[in-house]
């Protein structure tokens, strides 16, 4: 259990970040992470060789997907524009905060599977192979979802319709 503490504890902030970005609700996200950690503790000895990080994200992701399915079955929707995201950006300065808030709102419009892959790869720095493991799909599927996620998010950010993906904002 000692090595578990050493290997898992430093990853908890990242797990919280992923859960909150998916759930967009602090309490729901932390419940999910707690559930994930309890499972990790009870299954630590069943873990195979390989990245502990990918293993933990796999547990967390599966829990999140189950939640989404249950919420859909009950006809509830995940909150999108509620107070949740104010907590997401509380530390940022006001102007930056608006930009951040905007990108998160746009991210929320992506299908769940695209959102997940973008968060795992672009924010959590998982390798494509690890992301494939977490999502339970081949690496090729990760790549195509990632590509679609980026195109789609860019369309949202440009306020453009489909088919106009090359028109982009300029960068500094």
């Amino acid at each position: 259990m000692k090595d578990m503490l050493v290997q898992v504890e430093p990853l908890i902030p990242a797990l919280r970040r992923y859960a909150r970005a998916l759930m967009r609700d602090r309490a729901a996200a932390d419940d999910l992470v707690q559930d994930c950690l309890e499972r990790a503790v009870s299954r630590w000895h069943q873990r195979r060789d390989g990245s502990v990080r990918a293993w933990l994200f796999t547990i967390l992701h599966n829990l999140a997907v189950t939640q989404f399915r249950q919420a859909t079955a009950r006809g509830r929707h995940m909150p999108i524009d509620d107070a949740g995201e104010q907590e997401l950006v509380s530390a940022a300065a006001q102007e930056q905060r608006l930009i951040y808030r905007d990108v998160l709102n746009k991210l929320a419009r992506l299908p769940e599977e695209q959102r997940a892959v973008l968060l795992l790869v672009a924010v959590e720095d998982l390798s494509y192979a690890d992301a494939a493991k977490v999502l339970g799909v081949p690496v090729g599927t990760v790549m195509s979802r990632l590509s679609r996620a980026r195109e789609r998010l860019q369309q949202e950010m440009d306020g453009a319709g489909p088919g106009n993906v090359v028109a982009l904002r300029s960068l500094k």
């Binding site: 902030p13 919280r16 970040r17 909150r20 932390d30 951040y100 860019q154 982009l168």
Partner: protein
């Protein structure tokens, strides 16, 4: 010098800084010559920065008390395992069995003999699936040795099904005692650590070929069937709909040719 064409995957990997230096240089010089693609890639990189920035503060927050890992580990030590219920049930059955042979006749007379097999599998699951130390006696790496051994003991050729299509890997197996003689237990698990148990033993008399039937004992569910004199059962703590295709796969692989 011919160079592999630049792919969409390369562009994504460029944004994610996941390319080898040599390939990265090739993509960079391609982007120099293709400003429209370059601006698309730059926009993706900008998305990445914005997402990271927007979410960074979450990882800096102090962890709430419920997410204190030491507490979670501590709490787990104090909580009895759920599977102990199943073990208690097994012990009770053991005492009942010693008390009289009535239970034995009930099991043997059950409609097809499959429910007895399924019950044995559920008890086997209850004892070995929660075991963190030595759930199996012979590991998957020695599966050839295992197959030879149990085939000898069961006096029937036993096959070890490959369940990788369903996402389950063989952990290994052991020989277990049932009221109908020795049985071979195989244990599998998936990436989430969910465990499945397959129990197989020879069937007596008229139960040698029996169609597959759903079975359940407590919170352990599964399927049982018999082909060519060998009875099989698959059990786990999963919904029946999840277990059914796995049972079909085992039956397909284990069926005598």
């Amino acid at each position: 010098m011919s160079q592999r064409p630049i792919t969409e995957d390369d562009l994504n990997a460029y944004v994610d800084q996941a390319l080898e230096p040599e390939r990265r240089a090739q993509v960079a010089s391609y982007l120099d010559e293709h400003p429209d693609v370059a601006s698309r890639v730059a926009a993706f990189a900008n998305q990445r920065e914005q997402l990271r920035g927007a979410l960074a503060s979450i990882a800096d927050e102090p962890l709430p008390v419920e997410l204190n890992l030491s507490h979670i580990i501590e709490a787990r030590k104090r909580r009895p395992l759920r599977a102990w219920g199943a073990i208690a049930a097994l012990l009770l059955l053991g005492i009942g069995g010693l008390g009289g042979w009535t239970m034995r006749s009930v099991l043997q007379d059950s409609s097809s003999g499959l429910s007895a097999l399924a019950q044995e599998a559920a008890y086997t699951y209850g004892v070995y699936a929660p075991d963190r130390v030595r759930p199996v006696e012979i590991r998957a790496s020695d599966s050839a040795e295992f197959t030879k051994w149990v085939s000898n003991r069961l006096k029937q050729p036993v096959k070890v099904p490959d369940l990788s299509v369903a996402g389950y890997r063989l952990m290994g197996g052991r020989l277990v005692a049932t009221s109908h003689g020795p049985a071979a237990m195989l244990m599998y698990d998936d990436d989430r650590g969910d465990r499945l148990v397959v129990l197989t033993r020879p069937m007596s008399g008229r139960n040698q070929d029996t169609p597959m039937m759903p079975q359940s004992t407590g919170d352990v569910a599964g399927f049982a069937w018999a082909d060519g004199g060998l009875g099989y059962t698959l059990v786990g703590q999963l919904p029946t709909d999840t277990l059914r295709p796995i049972a079909n796969e085992i039956r397909k692989q284990a069926r005598p040719i």
